[in-house]
Every structure is written in structure tokens, then in C-alpha cells.
């Protein structure tokens, strides 16, 4: 059975987001919560990359032996990839801040249980 790559990627992105939201909302371990949040970000990034996917497409780099019309027909859409690069950097920064906070809170409370540290 041939699976459409773009469709499969969209489903994977959706699954990552749903799993991430579940982990962030319902798991008590703060590290697992953060992993869930990373899943959400990764799912959205995968979704954006998938938008730019073109079956059989080439990387958006114009080489000397290409013609403009051939390049326009075969190159994949580059904007989503450029956006995702920024999004990954933002995700890494927020992840670092959260993990830093968890380290401080672990030292203070001696646990990484969300219910004990954050209350409800």
C-alpha cells in the first residue's frame, strides 16, 4: 500500500500535538510535562514543513544548469522551511527556560511533582 507522504506527515503532526497536549495537561511529572510541550512544538513544526512538501520536488536552490520555468515547476516552497528554523530556535529557548525553572524548583521543593509544586 502506498501511503501519501504529505498526508502521513500531517497525521504524525496531529498525533504529536494531541499526545503533547495530553502530557502537558494530565501528567504530574514536570519533566514529562515539558517533553509533552516539546511534542506540541515539534508537531506544529512538522505541520509547517509538510505544507512546503512537494512530491518529487527539489531543494529551493537555483543552480546554473537550470531554467527558470523548470525550477519554478519543480522546486518546493521554501517559506515554511525558513519559518520552521526560527520556530525551532524559539522552542529551544523556551524549553531551556522551563528546564532551568524546574531545576530551581527541584532544589527548593525536593520534588518535580507538578501537583506538589504548582498546587492544582
Amino acid at each position: 500500500m502506498v501511503v501519501d507522504t504529505q498526508l502521513a506527515s500531517f497525521f504524525t503532526a496531529g498525533a504529536l500535538i494531541v499526545i503533547g497536549i495530553f502530557a502537558a495537561l494530565f501528567l504530574d511529572n514536570l519533566i514529562k510535562k515539558v517533553i509533552g510541550l516539546a511534542f506540541i512544538g515539534d508537531g506544529v513544526n512538522l505541520f509547517i514543513i509538510t505544507i512546503g512538501y512537494k512530491p518529487g520536488g527539489i531543494v529551493y536552490i537555483f543552480l546554473p544548469d537550470m531554467t527558470v520555468s523548470w525550477f519554478a515547476q519543480n522546486a518546493s516552497y521554501p517559506l515554511p522551511f525558513a519559518l520552521v528554523l526560527t520556530s525551532i530556535v524559539i522552542g529551544a529557548s523556551t524549553l531551556a527556560v522551563m528546564l532551568g525553572l524546574i531545576i530551581i524548583l527541584h532544589k527548593k521543593h525536593g520534588t518535580i511533582s507538578a501537583s506538589k509544586i504548582l498546587g492544582e
Partner: protein, 497 residues
């Protein structure tokens, strides 16, 4: 191109990075931060209106040198008018909003540097980064660029809370980040849906695609994008269901930090709200959704404020309630209503900063923010009590102060739009706001001082008093001459209808 337009964002970012490097060099940090903060409100006044294309990449229709060499199937298509670069749009509404934001940033930074013996370069760094981000949100015509600065603003806000040293600040910061890391990707997903449908992230181009039938307005993906962007908007501005965490964030910041944080929320609310109206106003229910959210914010904000005992939490919840007024103005949807809503946004940012700094003096001299442990402050600081009372009057909409004018305009707009029920609700909420403020004012200033209450530091820095007087002066000036602000806002309001 006007180089002053990007400078409004670049200057605070550059200053922030420099301040971070200069941390512990107290005198240099203080001088640099105050000088740059003073320049922030001046730049928008000097800048001329227009667009700024980063990298100098103009649309093809304005760039004959490149367009001349391209095939006709490109130059005869919509690609001819699309914006190939990140675009900043600076118009009269942005001018007044960035001026007020810059002024509040200056007063908050000025106060913070004078209230502490050893100024923190890192704290000033965060304040500048937040200010730069929110300025970019107001300027950007690129929805992905807006998302990037939305995230930077969120991290800066968390940083301001972490740096405050207030009890339980880390817990609140983490909670805010966890919620933020659900809401912000949802906003990004909304942007991704728009990108997927229109192939664009430039807001003007997205609107062009929808209005000219390149994308069907009935496309359900646009509806999903709208829902997701609204969700991010609720988080960024602290509207329900994020009102609790937002007011908790204010309460864990120092008063000058909280004054700036609420200004970030107000201008994020306005910036994103305008974009939602620009893109999705063709949806029949978009205005109803904004009105319902605003009413919820007003009702929940004031009722929650009534139940609080912490000064900063009271103001935080009142600020959420006041956001509802802005939303109602935008939701009414007439040019007059939108002008009134935007004017209310300016007033709210000023008044709430005024209240945070005003009540912050109580915190400064007693080191307490629990109203149950406070009292008798009228004897200790009688002149400041009068100033704080005026700030409360301004928030409740007592004439001749500024919020009176904006709230009156909002009520008139609701009557003109044949929804007087909204006007009645606004009046009722104003009364409850006034009651809530007077309750807090009475317990802090007018009732007898509890015997166990110690005055730890009676010398309030002159910088704080100057900041309060500046804010009071603005409240009175805008109250007496509202056209100073509304003339700037009308152009944007007319374009949104």
C-alpha cells in the same frame, strides 16, 4: 524608507543586549538604560508614516528594476503586489500607541533603577526586550514575525517575574510558561493554516488573497486558523481563561515590573485584536465572539478583584476587567466604537501603570502587599494617598480624567450601534470597579494602622514620585483634551470598518 521605523525595535534590543553585558557595572547600566529609555517615546514622534521593507525588498509593483526582467505570468499575477520581505507598517495609531508604550517603559525603568541601590543590568535587559517585542507586535505586518515577537515578549515577561525575587515567583513563572507553550504553538498553528491556504504570511497579502477570491472566504481552514489565533490572543493578553495566571504574574512582579507587564498585555491585546479584525472581520460571528470574550473578561475581572486581598492581584484583575472595555469597542465594530476602544486601551495602559506604581509606594515603605495587614497609610503618605485616589478615580471613569472620556465614548458607541445593553453593562462594571478600588483604598489608607505594621523605609525615591506625577498629568490632559489621542486613532478605526 524611514530608518526610524525599524529603529523603534532595534534600539531597545541593542540596548538590552548591551545592558546584559554590562551587568554589575552599576553606574553605566543606570545611565545607558535611562538615556535609551528616554529616547524610546521620542522616536515614534519623529518618525514619518509609511512602510519599511526589511532588506529593501519592495513588492514587484514598486520595483521596476526587478519586475522588468520577469515573465508576464508573474508580473500579471497577484505576485506583483505581494510583499516579499518582512514589512513594518507605521501609521498614526501606531505612533500614539508606541509613544505611550515607550513612555510607560521609560517610567518603569526610571523607577526601578532608582528604587534599587544596585541596578540590575539583567532586569533592565528584560524590560527593554519586552518593550521591543511589543513594539514589533504593533508594527509588524507579517504574522509570523508577530508570532516570534509574541514569544519573545512572553519569555521577557517570565524573566521580569523571575528577576523580581518575590515569594513563589518561580512557581508562577513556570505555570505561565507551561500554559504559554500550549497557547503559543496554537497561535503558530493558526499562522501555519493561513500560510497553507494563502501561501503567505504577510497580513496585507493574506487579506488581498481573501478579498480577491484567490482563496475562498468560506474555506473551513480559515475558520480553524481564526480559532487558533484567537486562542493565542486570549493567552497573550490575559483574557479568560488565562486571566488567573496573568493576574498571578502581575502579583509576582515588582510594582514597576507589573506596570510594564500590564502595558505589554494591553498592547498585545490591541495588536493581535486589530489583526484578527483585519483578516477575519468578514466572518459573521467574529464580532460576537469578541464581545462575548470581552464581557466575560469584564465580569470575571471585577468579581475576582472583589475577592482578593493582595494589592497587586486586585489591580491585576481590575486590569483584566478593563481589557473587556477595549474588546467591546472593537466588537461593536463601528469606526466610533473602535476609536473609543483604542482610546480606552491607551488610557488603561496609563492608569494601570499609575495604580501599580502608586500602590507600589505602599509596598516600598511597608514591604507588605496583603491589604489585611495594612492600614493608616493616609497618615504616613497623605500626598501620595491623594495621587493614588486620583488613579483609582481615573480607572473607574470619574470626570474629568481620561478613562471617563473613553468610557463615555464607548457607551455612546453602543447606543449608536443599537446595543444599549452593552452600555448598561459598562456602567455597572464601572461602578463595581469603583467599589473594588475604594475597598482597597479604605483598607490601606483610611482605616487605623495595625499595631504590628512596621514602616521599614519612609523615603520614597523622587523618581517614583516624578513618574506618578507624569502619569497623573497625562490622565488629566487626555481627560480634558481627548482629541489629542483620538485624532491619531480615528484613521486606523476608519480603515477597519
Amino acid at each position: 524608507m524611514n530608518p526610524l521605523i525599524p529603529l523603534m525595535v532595534i534600539l531597545p534590543i541593542a540596548c538590552a543586549l548591551l545592558l546584559n553585558l554590562l551587568h554589575k557595572k552599576d553606574r553605566t547600566v543606570k545611565v545607558l538604560a535611562i538615556v535609551v529609555a528616554l529616547v524610546l517615546p521620542i522616536i515614534p514622534l519623529l518618525a514619518s508614516y509609511g512602510l519599511h521593507f526589511f532588506g529593501g525588498y519592495y513588492p514587484l509593483s514598486e520595483n521596476s528594476a526587478i519586475a522588468g526582467g520577469l515573465p508576464s505570468y508573474i508580473t500579471n499575477s497577484a505576485l506583483n503586489v505581494f510583499h516579499p520581505a518582512i514589512t513594518y507598517s507605521f501609521e498614526s495609531a501606531q505612533k500614539i500607541m508606541i509613544f505611550i508604550l515607550g513612555l510607560i517603559a521609560f517610567l518603569a525603568i526610571f523607577t526601578s533603577l532608582n528604587e534599587t541601590k544596585r541596578p540590575s543590568g539583567v532586569y533592565a535587559f528584560l524590560m527593554f526586550m519586552g518593550t521591543a517585542s511589543v513594539t514589533a507586535i504593533l508594527l509588524s505586518d507579517d504574522i509570523f514575525n508577530l508570532y516570534v515577537f509574541f514569544e519573545i515578549a512572553a519569555i521577557s515577561q517570565v524573566g521580569i517575574v523571575i528577576a523580581s525575587g518575590v515569594k513563589k515567583n518561580y512557581e508562577t513563572a513556570l505555570k505561565y510558561m507551561i500554559l504559554g507553550n500550549i497557547a503559543a504553538p496554537m497561535l503558530l498553528l493558526g499562522v501555519a493554516f493561513l500560510l497553507g491556504v494563502t501561501g503567505n504570511v504577510n497580513i496585507t497579502d493574506i487579506i488581498y488573497s481573501i478579498k480577491n477570491g484567490i482563496v475562498s472566504p468560506q474555506n473551513p481552514v480559515l475558520l480553524m486558523a481564526c480559532g487558533l489565533i484567537v486562542f493565542g490572543w486570549l493567552y497573550g493578553s490575559g483574557l479568560p481563561p488565562f486571566h488567573t495566571i496573568k493576574s498571578a504574574l502581575y502579583s509576582k512582579a515588582l510594582p514597576h515590573g507589573a506596570a510594564l507587564l500590564q502595558a505589554f498585555s494591553v498592547f498585545t491585546f490591541v495588536g493581535l485584536g486589530i489583526i484578527i479584525i483585519r483578516i477575519f472581520s468578514y466572518l459573521p460571528f467574529s464580532k460576537i465572539v469578541i464581545i462575548v470574550i470581552s464581557l466575560l473578561a469584564m465580569i470575571l475581572g471585577v468579581t475576582m478583584a472583589l475577592m482578593q486581598n493582595d494589592i497587586k492581584r486586585i489591580i491585576g484583575y481590575l486590569a483584566v476587567g478593563e481589557l473587556g472595555y477595549i474588546g467591546l469597542g472593537l466588537g461593536i465594530g463601528t469606526a466610533f466604537g473602535i476609536t473609543a476602544g483604542l482610546f480606552q486601551a491607551l488610557n488603561e495602559a496609563i492608569i494601570t501603570a499609575f495604580l501599580f506604581l502608586g500602590f507600589g509606594t505602599v509596598l516600598y515603605i511597608t514591604k507588605k502587599s496583603d491589604t489585611r495587614k495594612l492600614g493608616g497609610m493616609m497618615i504616613e503618605t497623605p500626598k501620595l494617598a491623594l495621587v493614588v485616589l486620583l488613579a483609582g478615580f481615573a480607572m473607574a471613569g470619574v470626570p474629568p480624567l481620561n478613562a471617563f472620556q473613553s468610557k463615555l465614548m464607548l457607551i455612546q458607541a453602543s447606543i449608536q450601534a443599537e446595543v444599549p445593553e452593552l452600555g448598561i453593562i459598562m456602567i455597572l462594571i464601572s461602578i463595581v470597579t469603583f467599589m473594588t478600588f475604594m475597598r482597597a483604598f479604605y483598607t490601606i489608607y483610611m482605616r487605623p494602622k495595625p499595631p504590628e505594621l512596621q514602616i521599614t523605609n519612609k523615603n520614597i525615591p523622587k523618581a517614583t514620585i516624578i513618574s506618578l506625577l507624569v502619569l497623573l498629568a497625562i490622565c488629566i490632559i487626555l481627560g480634558l483634551y481627548p482629541k489629542i489621542a483620538t485624532n491619531y486613532l480615528q484613521v486606523l478605526a476608519n480603515s477597519l470598518v
